[in-house]
Amino acid sequence: MSKNTHKAISLISGGLDSMLSTQLLLDQGVHVEGINFFTGFCVEGHTHAIRKKDKKKEKRNNALWVAEQLGIKLHIIDVIEEYKSVLLNPVHGYGQNMNPCLDCKGFMVRKALEWIKENDFDFIITGEVMGQRPMSQRRDTMPVIARESGAGDLLLRPLCAKHLPETYPEQQGWVDREKLLSFHGRSRKPQMALAEEMGFKDYSQPAGGCCFLTDANYSAKLVDLWKARGNREYSLDDIILLKVGRHIRPKPSFKLIVAREEGESRFLHGYRYRYKSLTTISHAGPVVLIIGELDAEDLVLAAQITARFSQGRDDSEVTLQLEDSENKKQSVTVVPIKADKVLPEWYV
């Protein structure tokens, strides 16, 4: 890198837009490195590793993969704890689900700003496209991100820069504004055409973005967790478990997480030292975690539901093993609950 080369950090999600915006700057001779923030809710994270049915899919972290395609370094930053205040108290509220997109983007740009100050970089770029997302990528909200993050004119959005005022890197001639773009709106065609032009054939375009909080089912489970707990605290384990299995709450006091296949059973098995678990002994069946408090009657109900999801669902009785978090085991034999007795409203 020559002495006069300026340095940018690029927010890399693993999707196409940040890949393209980074390549635009690389093409201008700017030294770019990537930064990726792990909130715990990232789709890029753990889900691929859990389900066995996904085994045929290549297990890769797309942010790393994108960085490798671009030939840049990537810094992955754990922001799980700091992110809690963003999720719990978003100044700008939530989107359609539990997604605090505007606050989230502001938070990430602020973290990137801290990073460039610590690492002697000059400015920040993102893959944002004006009008593409209903909350954080609008003409009126994009300046809010620049302002509230503190980044101001050190924040450059190469894909839609021509719709926005000149930034400091452009004013200083570090970046040629004429070579930046004016993408706008929800259509992905311009990005796909540019990808082809740049020679990118394989890229990720997750529907709904890169965050589980935009997913209605996931958000419902998160709200249910908080309601049952009586507060809005959460741990990384809590939010990972929301991605796994069927969640069934027969009573407010407890919930069952029922593995849907072998990969999930194996994954939930790893949590048996933290939660009570049920497994069928007499028949093949899923691992079931019990989250909450049960009395003797509840335990029978939990066992009956577990039996319903086992190979013994149509038999007269099923024997199960209940294991608590201290590895104490007891055997329980129950009649599987009938299918129509598993009420739809129990499913979270």
Partner: protein
């Protein structure tokens, strides 16, 4: 398994962590090592088998060996700074 893999004695336990946490732990572990140091990362997330080598490639570190059993992936890395 793989007891002979780690002759350096330095080991990072990234078991029961899911991607990208094994990569983040590896990244943080490397910050405190010198160029030429070797260590083994022990993971249970099968995704680590592609992600950690990918992280090593983009940051210039050398993957010396990868071994996988049914439950664990062990990756031996040499730090290059």
């Amino acid at each position: 398994m793989c007891d002979d893999m780690n002759d350096s004695g330095k080991e990072l336990d990234a078991r029961n962590l899911l991607c990208p946490l094994p990569v983040i732990r590896t990244q943080d572990f490397v910050k405190n090592l010198e160029s030429g140091d070797e260590f083994v990362v022990r993971c249970t997330d099968p995704g680590a088998k592609s992600d950690i080598p990918s992280w090593c490639r983009i940051n210039g570190h050398k993957v010396i060996d990868i071994q996988q059993s049914e439950y664990e992936v062990l990756i031996k890395i040499q730090v290059v700074k």
